[in-house]
Symmetry: C2
Subunit: 279 residues, 2 copies
């Protein structure tokens, strides 16, 4: 059996009891290591599981799945995914390749940021489409997600923004030289997300657009390390969100739509300052 | 500390390792027993945890929270919730009451149907607003959720439909007589959900409405016991969904919007018949 096992969001102990039992009896254990991270690394997981964990980068998952599947028709192989295997990142592609080879698979679900975001007090069923915000470069500043935020806000719905992760990226120089030297990983902070979003509305304003999705004074929510002991949630204006310090990655970002009174009361628990408390 | 602990969706072993450790050291352990169920009951949980579990019905959670909180300023008390504590059912109300009393709380997240539904192959970020479908009676047939399905479909988005659960309900007769006799629990099946939805579009058709959200031939998805060993997923037309047998509760229901090629390929894995395979 080929198992997709969600690890949840915090540390090694956020795996389920069922997931842990399967890991312990698997012949090989892979860890998907390019779309998300826990607050602990591979070594801590190996120590907790009492066995070797093989890091699976994008290249391995996308082009060497045969190697990963090997032997899973007669023995157990585990593929570990931070969060849930069908959460923010989905591994349907790998499922389809397994089925093509007539391999059985099973999924051990876990918390994902897609549902754990409910801890900020906003109701999950009031969220509209989820968006991803990518790192801008000097020459590439995509803003197509703005229209989705606008649409959600117009419908009174909240928007979960997943923030970019760059792992095993090469500099253009090294890429051109064909050197397999990788840049240090980068994880987008809520500061960068707020900055990029404010830059978009400033541009829209300059272009004369009147009905903006939000302003610098709109309350938004920054979340860090959800599910871990050091989890931090803060509700602040976009202006304040550009400079707040909520610590190490991973960060996520929420732009609320219409707020139910209970949702407002919850947000006040995470208020950055009196602007939010009087909200 | 007052802990909100998600149990996930399958059986006793879907709790996280961290959650289990907290349950074992808690002074009292409550199980929220009115918004969802696992495939196993309280007794199996007690056996697995090696300790007593107190069933908390709606009345206890909504009116006797002081009793539940008692002692949690100096000791640990656990409140277990099927799925995630902030998933399909949210317990923000209880969080706010704890904070009013200056009690600390912590959340141990887990899978919820709100993210585990991704196992049917539809991408979570393409889901629009989640809706709830309630049991109709002879005289009460609410259909306000239809407009939300329509809106999601018009935007090309999928709709997760949470299906009604009736636990500890009194018959009108017993209610009027003041007798605390409760009806057996009822869990809506995908058959009933499909029937009610088809009745709505038939009514709309009779009223001359042309631009319907879906027809009897639209493909929809029925899910049963997600996360358990007997998990069943089926993709079929609304007509077929009225009669398919996917077994015991809990069921959930999905109405897809626009489908990405990968999503189509995944749905074919769960095809009820050739209508869906050729989809």
């Amino acid at each position: 059996m080929f198992y997709f096992i969600g690890l949840g969001l915090g540390d090694a102990k956020d795996i389920t009891v069922k997931g842990l039992e399967i890991v312990k009896k698997s012949k090989r254990v892979y860890l998907e290591a390019y779309t998300s991270i826990l607050t602990v690394g591979k070594e801590k997981l190996e120590e907790f599981y009492g066995r070797e964990v093989i890091l699976a980068d994008r290249d391995m998952v996308e082009t060497q799945s045969d190697e990963m599947f090997e032997g899973s028709d007669t023995e157990d192989v585990s593929f570990l995914v931070v969060g849930d295997p069908f959460g923010a990142t989905t591994h349907t592609d790998l499922v389809l390749r397994a089925k093509e080879k007539d391999l059985e698979y099973r999924v051990i679900h876990n918390a994902s940021i897609m549902n754990a975001v409910g801890c900020c007090g906003l109701q999950l069923y009031n969220f509209g489409e989820t968006i991803s915000i990518v790192f801008w470069t000097d020459t590439w500043k995509p803003d197509s997600f703005y229209d989705k935020i606008k649409r959600n806000r117009d419908l009174g719905m909240h928007t979960l923004c997943l923030l970019d992760i760059k792992v095993k990226e090469q500099s253009i120089e090294n890429l051109m030289k064909g050197k397999k030297i990788f840049e240090p990983p980068r994880y987008m902070s809520v500061n960068t997300a707020a900055e990029q979003l404010v830059e978009i509305i400033q541009r829209k304003k300059e272009e004369g657009e009147k009905d903006l999705a939000f302003t610098e004074d709109t309350i938004c929510i920054g979340l860090a390390r959800i599910g871990s002991e050091t989890q931090t949630i803060i509700a602040a204006t976009f202006t304040d969100m550009m400079t707040v310090d909520i610590g190490a990655p991973l960060h996520s970002f929420v732009i609320p739509g219409e707020l139910h009174p209970l949702e407002k009361d919850m947000l006040k628990l995470f208020a950055y300052n009196d602007d939010v408390k009087q909200y």
